[in-house]
Amino acid sequence: MSAKNKCIYVGVDVGASRTKVAVLDSNKVLIGHSIRKSGTDFNQTADICLSSALDMAGISQDDIARTISTGYGRKNVSFSDGTKTEIGCHARGAYHYFPMAMTVLDIGGQDNKIIKLDDKGRRLNFKMNRKCAAGTGAFLEEMSSRLDIPIEDMDSLARKSREIVELGSFCTVFSATEVLEKIRHGKKVPDIVKGLFLSVIKRVLEMDIMSDKVVMTGGVVAHNPFLVQMVRDISGKDVRTPEFPQLTGAVGAALFAMDE
């Protein structure tokens, strides 16, 4: 294929926890994707993810017209042609799936983001979590380890809850102590897990005021869809998620790649 005919656009989102690659064709259709733990060698992980996503799409690296990287490790991707912040990419990706004025609510491995967009998809403002990682995926990972519950079981456990156990502390470590205290008092694990979900949601919702339409993205939502239902119930807002919430930033990056 000649350079002129290159028609594939790649977005790479190197997050603190996971690396995501999205491959789009010229019609902005997602034709390949891949997700792996970011590990310590971001460039190598990005390479492996790219190969896997290209295999899925049935194309080769020669077909790639342009690549944009984003996320915490965005400047460590050797095959990238440029970078954009994850805030910009999540906004772009969310607007691609839901072209409307909205609040994007992204819960990632270490970062939470709240991004407000107008009906043209332009950013009005954004906020990220302050100072610590309470209310992010790292909080749930720590709790799953402390409670010895596989992280992938948390969503189904939370759904079984009949009486939520609320946690008071901001601090992840102190929350763990509080959880142990609840267990000692005979509280049920599903109720505690739902309480952990509620803690995540509270940390996020207290960051800013939500607009009427909310789009939730990120790995935590991808693996714990019950969180979306809970946000819907608590906020009373129209809350949606893309088909692959964890890929939203990578898709946004690929869309930026199409700009030039």
């Binding site: 400047k75 991707v77 990238s80 440029g82 994850e86 805030i87 910009g88 403002n125 100072k131």
Partner: protein
């Protein structure tokens, strides 16, 4: 591989003179400290320096030392020593790093000027207009050095300033005189005092001129340049040398304006910075904004050393006014109006607030001001969480990403 664009900062010819003034300041203090040739007064950054200098003291500013501890990134290692003796990590990190520096016998003066330690005080004089922490800070050293400590206690949360409030501060300043005379062993020479006030006034006028030169488009300098060049406005105000320095600097800035030379190549965005500098990351932040073709044109912080209310004809009264009309002691309504005036002057397109963990008095984002200003101007605002000196409170990657995303947002609006 994508790489950050290399930052190209423009140097100032007046930088050499700046270095000389700062070096002379510390050498003179060190000599006096070692030989007792002159009396030394420690003074808070917005304390009554004119009176002290006018009475023949050499004046040392611990906050300036605090900023040096921050910018040399020594502070974070020193703070725990002060924490250990009971000074909380949540209070002023100038205080904790400075006391930690004393306890650990480490000072940036050693590497910069081969000076072993800060000068010993003969007297310590504070003004609580900055915060209450300065009083505790000076009290600790007064006890350590067995030196007298005295101070001015300011009014706070001021809207319109009343005559009685100014008179009160003026009276408090005047009441320092007998105690200071006891230290110097000499009577106040009113003419020397007035001359000092005159130099300080002139320094302030020139400093204001320098800061306001940033209203030019493109701006001839940045907030980061100003934080360095404000040194003499802090430590040498009230001297002829400071006046001469700012004459040179202002001429250089005006020359840049005349020749259309901007501090930032292809200045695309203009930002207002509220709050303290992140001293330990000053260079990194300056480089980031430069690489994003963004000029931080103005700041509340650098404006805080403009005292052009000073009047040699009424030295006490005018000092009372100058040190009471400061931004930091004013109420929210004044602060909001002040920033609106700055917006008109500097034509910025975004505002960044630095929420300094250990400096609530200089963190103006905590009562809804960013949101109110953003709504009023129709421009975006961003809050960066960090600290002036304690880098444990600053997550660099988070801050960098926030700033980069903020500039992307400004790009979308352009």
């Amino acid at each position: 591989m994508s790489e950050e664009k290399k930052a190209d900062r423009k140097q100032f010819a007046s930088g050499k003179l700046l270095k000389k003034i700062m070096a002379d300041h510390f050498y003179e203090l060190d000599e006096a400290s070692r030989t007792g040739s002159k009396k030394i007064a420690w003074c808070t950054s917005v304390g009554p320096a004119e009176l002290l200098r006018g009475m023949g003291f050499l004046v040392y500013f611990p906050e300036n030392h605090g900023a040096m501890l921050g910018s040399t990134r020594m502070a974070t290692e020193l703070i725990p020593s002060a924490n250990a003796i009971g000074y909380s990590p949540d209070i002023c990190s100038y205080l904790t790093s400075d006391i930690g520096s004393y306890l650990q016998k480490k000072t940036p003066l050693k590497a910069a000027y081969n000076i072993e330690s800060v000068p010993k005080p003969d007297v310590l004089v504070y003004n609580t207009n900055q915060c209450r922490d300065v009083k505790d800070w000076f009290n600790w050293y007064a006890d350590e050095f067995k030196a007298p400590v005295m101070g001015i206690h300011t009014h706070r949360e001021l809207g319109d300033i009343k005559g009685y409030q100014i008179s009160d501060i003026a009276k408090q300043i005047e009441e320092l005189v007998p105690g200071l005379e006891k230290v110097t062993g000499k009577k106040l020479d009113i003419d020397q005092f007035k001359e000092t006030v005159g130099y300080s006034r002139r320094t302030s006028e020139l400093w204001r001129g320098c800061l306001e030169s940033a209203s030019a488009i493109p701006s001839p300098w940045t907030f980061f340049d100003a934080t360095i060049h404000m040194g003499p406005a802090v430590v040498a105000r009230g001297t002829k040398e400071a006046v001469e320095y700012y004459e040179v600097l202002l001429a250089e800035l005006n020359d840049r304006i005349k020749n259309g030379v901007g501090a930032i190549e292809n200045e695309r965005h203009r930002i207002y910075w509220d709050g303290m500098p992140v001293w330990g990351k000053l260079r990194a932040l300056s480089d980031q904004f430069t690489s994003l073709n963004t000029c931080v044109v103005a700041s509340t912080y650098c404006n805080s050393w403009i005292f052009d209310q000073l009047d040699p004809k009424e030295p006490f009264e005018s000092m009372g006014r100058a040190y009471l009309e400061l931004f930091i002691v004013r109420d929210e309504a004044f602060k909001e109006k002040y920033m609106k005036d700055c917006f008109e002057k500097y034509k910025f397109t975004g505002i960044i607030f630095h929420d300094a963990k250990t400096c609530p008095n200089n963190s103006n984002n905590r009562y809804g001001l960013p949101e109110r200003l953003s709504r009023h101007f129709g421009i975006p605002q961003l809050t960066i969480n960090g600290d002036l000196n304690d880098m444990r409170c600053y997550s660099e990657e988070q801050a960098k990403t926030n700033i980069e995303a903020f500039i992307e947002q400004l790009d979308e609006r352009a």
